[in-house]
Amino acid sequence: MKVHEEDVVLRLQQVTKKAGKQVIVDQLSFDVRKGEIVGLLGPNGAGKTTTIRMIVGLIGMTGGDVLIKGHSIRSSFAKAISHVGAIVENPEFYPYMTGWDNLKQYQRMTIGITEERIKQVVEIVGLSEAMGKKVRSYSLGMRQRLGIAQALLHSPSILILDEPTNGLDPSGIREMRDYLKQIAQKEEIAILVSSHLLSEMEMMCSRVVVIQQGKFVHQQLIGAQQQGQEQTAANDIRIRVRELEKAEQVVRGLDGVQLVQLDTAASELEVSCNDEALALCVEELCRQQIGVYRIVEVKRSLEDEFLAWTGGSRIV
């Protein structure tokens, strides 16, 4: 992956938060670039909300700095925050006002937001029908969407959402995921989402940053990016054949192909090799008329890897 410095929208530099003696966030550093959906992943109490609060300047930091489009949230708050749209924890609004009046509040806080823009973001999150209703009567899902609308109003460069799917039912979670992907495309912005749910991050993000007890643990590309990167790396492949013993001999005789295991019941062998070696392997199997039934890549789930990174502490 090529790194363009000018694409960095959000940069955390050694961000630290202490409360008394307790270190809640410990020298956390990572970047978020334009067009990325980055997941901030960690178990409950890992410090995700605290990190997000520091990014948006709601709480001070003990050390380090946060740069948004190059502006420090500490020393030039107004400039830095003007590029941010966020929901911190739950999306909370004035319940006695309508959805529209709530959005008008935030419109008045930024010069140059037109009524057309309000209508546009309301359209994006699919709330047009509910704009005239008091927020008191909104469901959590609707408030989440109003929260996103609020965050998008001023066309920010980065959208920051703290556990946006918390409390939503499965269909709501799915909707949220679709909105975010759509927004990332339509609005061409970076998105940082926190979650304690790995499976969710896997479906939504292009990269996850894993933290545990306030510390950076690992970061990992997901999906298409991940595959692109690993073209030359070894993959685990399962091959089902008609004649298992003959196949085993072929595989053992090939350079660059490692036999991982034999599954006689399924008549399968699992090998580890890169793309080129696999091509050779398949050619050889065919030449010897061993009969190849199917070739499947074995995906190690992110969850398995996650357990490896965090030394076994579970997040599901």
Binding site: R53, V56, G57, L58, I59, G60, F77, A78, K79, I81, S82, V84, A86, I87, V88, E89, N90, E92, F93, Y94, P95, Y96, M97, D101, K104, Q105, Y106, R108, M109, T110, I111, Q150
Partner: protein, 252 residues
Amino acid sequence: MSSFANLVVNEWFKLTKKRSFFVAFFIMLLMPLGIAFVMKNFMTDMELTQIGFLQSIIDFSGGGSVFVFLCMIYAASIVSGEHQLGTIKLLLIRAHSRSKILASKLVALLLFMLVLLLYSLLVGLLVYFIFFGFGNLDGSWFEVVKASAYTLVYTIVYLSIIFMLSILTKSTGATIGITFCIIFLEGVMTMLLSRYDFAKYVLFFNTNLQVYENGTPPMEGMSLGFSVAVIAIYLIAIVGIAFYVFKKRDVA
């Protein structure tokens, strides 16, 4: 419109879009009606002038205490309400400094106070006309202005204290509770401390500017100017603390 004016508009809507907003205006209608009713039916021997009627409505040691009370109730939630709703988070992540946000709240509050005062005077006048006709125009309007000014000074002192408490406690209930304790203690303290000379530097000895009307100051060395100066210094300190805490605070 300037960005600060927009913030004040926002705060104004937050006050007025609540259903409870009209309660204050309703009460400030009932109060003069009640006074007029009693005056008309049970105190027929008293000659009541327009001016006198308005004074009785607005004077903070009389009917005006209701006005002060109403302003206090509205002030108590202006910052803590945002904490309790959780809306403070969305409010503070805009491109405005916290001082500016807080100043807009203070301005909206003072605006509310002035609107309620003007409304009360107007309603008082109407009620008087309805009950007593256009009869008695004796007396100077300056008396009404003075009574209003004394009430405003007294109200502003309390509003600033409540404003600070609302920020410190982040709780509307606690703010109102503590304020009532202060009001209660104010009377007791005034009695207990009046023997000591330093008492004249205590805020609550100075909040009633009316006492200078009849010549003799409550304590030696006190004057209208002295009291105004003491009030100003306290106000600056109280509002200063409010802004300082609000600016530095971690919003969780």
